[in-house]
Symmetry: C2
Subunit: 218 residues, 2 copies
Amino acid sequence: MSVAIENFVKAIYKNDNNDSNDTKPGNIAKKLGISNAAATDMAKKLASKNLLQYEKYQALQLTDEGTKMALNVIRKHRLWEALLFKLFDMSLHEIHRESELLEHATSNFLADRISEYLGNPKFDPHGDPIPNANGEITTIDTSMALSNTQEGKTYVISRLMSDDKEFFDFCALNGLKYGNPILVSKQFSKNKMTQITINNNNIVLNEDFTNIIYVNEI
Amino acid sequence: MSVAIENFVKAIYKNDNNDSNDTKPGNIAKKLGISNAAATDMAKKLASKNLLQYEKYQALQLTDEGTKMALNVIRKHRLWEALLFKLFDMSLHEIHRESELLEHATSNFLADRISEYLGNPKFDPHGDPIPNANGEITTIDTSMALSNTQEGKTYVISRLMSDDKEFFDFCALNGLKYGNPILVSKQFSKNKMTQITINNNNIVLNEDFTNIIYVNEI
DNA sequence: AATTAAATTTAAGTAAGCTTAAATATTAAT
DNA sequence: ATTAATATTTAAGCTTACTTAAATTTAATT
């Protein structure tokens, strides 16, 4: 399957949350940086390939086959992230950027070799779960967004859900890293801001960041 | 630049030996598995991009820019070969197959990280020289084809110039590996065959193999 | 409920990278 | 030196993955 198709099913899978509008052609188009018309065209094409269900003006829904393809691409992406992170001195953002390309140039055979080499990890350096070769993915998620945590408690960072370079620069600068502990020193609920303490530094985060940093109770 | 273009300049670079016919569109087409017409079209297009010189019915000649691009792709290919070979339990053929895809999905930045990690190697696991980031490549080659070696002398394997799975299966089976020593126990010049001794086994090779196995005097 | 705004779809068109078939040029053979 | 064989090029056409613009449908607003 082509790069365009792989990215299309991946975008649907990632947008498939609560709001069904998120998987309408327009939102997929926005995510992929293509026109709405192109997304509609592709949707029809993939429906004919039995990768998704398409009904005029409705949200797109991946079939089992489409979901499997999306998970396969995501698996490759996250395995590359884990490998590059382990081997090279690269930022999370750089790792993400490279994996975005490599995921489409990776055979299942190579993906299995990478996984094996890494000890079949269940999570990548962002804390995102890595689907296994059968398309099974860890979905049990006891973590919560930083915005939902309780003042005075200490947590460990479990996920950094972003593709943004500046966000990762910020994380690197301040020691926010998968597995690291942080203290929620103050919640400013009205203003939707959270103060955390890490390495004796106090940092105030607004909702842009508190919604994408996920943590687990210790 | 696209995968098609990268493969095209690479094919010209690799075919550019003594016989100028080798870089005519037809031979490039054969190498890439596309039609002659497609190769002619592409040649014209790349000429307009200043990657090669095209004159009707003549051999294609890469410009400096085209050569640089070819070397850049080859660099990525051979760095991937070296990395996969080091990390994973994969045959030379498998490594080649994967690198053929990965080379087009690799930024210069990542190539430099791989090179660094490997200690900036000058040769890949086939013994082929790896161009550096500036497109400089080791061309001093004191090695010779097995067909040109002298009876009774011992050599070390310096290159295995093939993409063929069966050939690499044969090599793996018999301990023919980059850097390994072999004794040329007999030359059957009339029949263009060579007998070598390796690990106390005598193996007789015909010219299909003696022309692609390169060795250095010790 | 009617109107306006926004999103989606259809239609027409483009560029890349191919194909096959026919025309043309080159090379090899008699 | 012709002729035959081979290679190259031109021409026409296809598929993929896009684009913009117009038409249609859905959703939001008054």
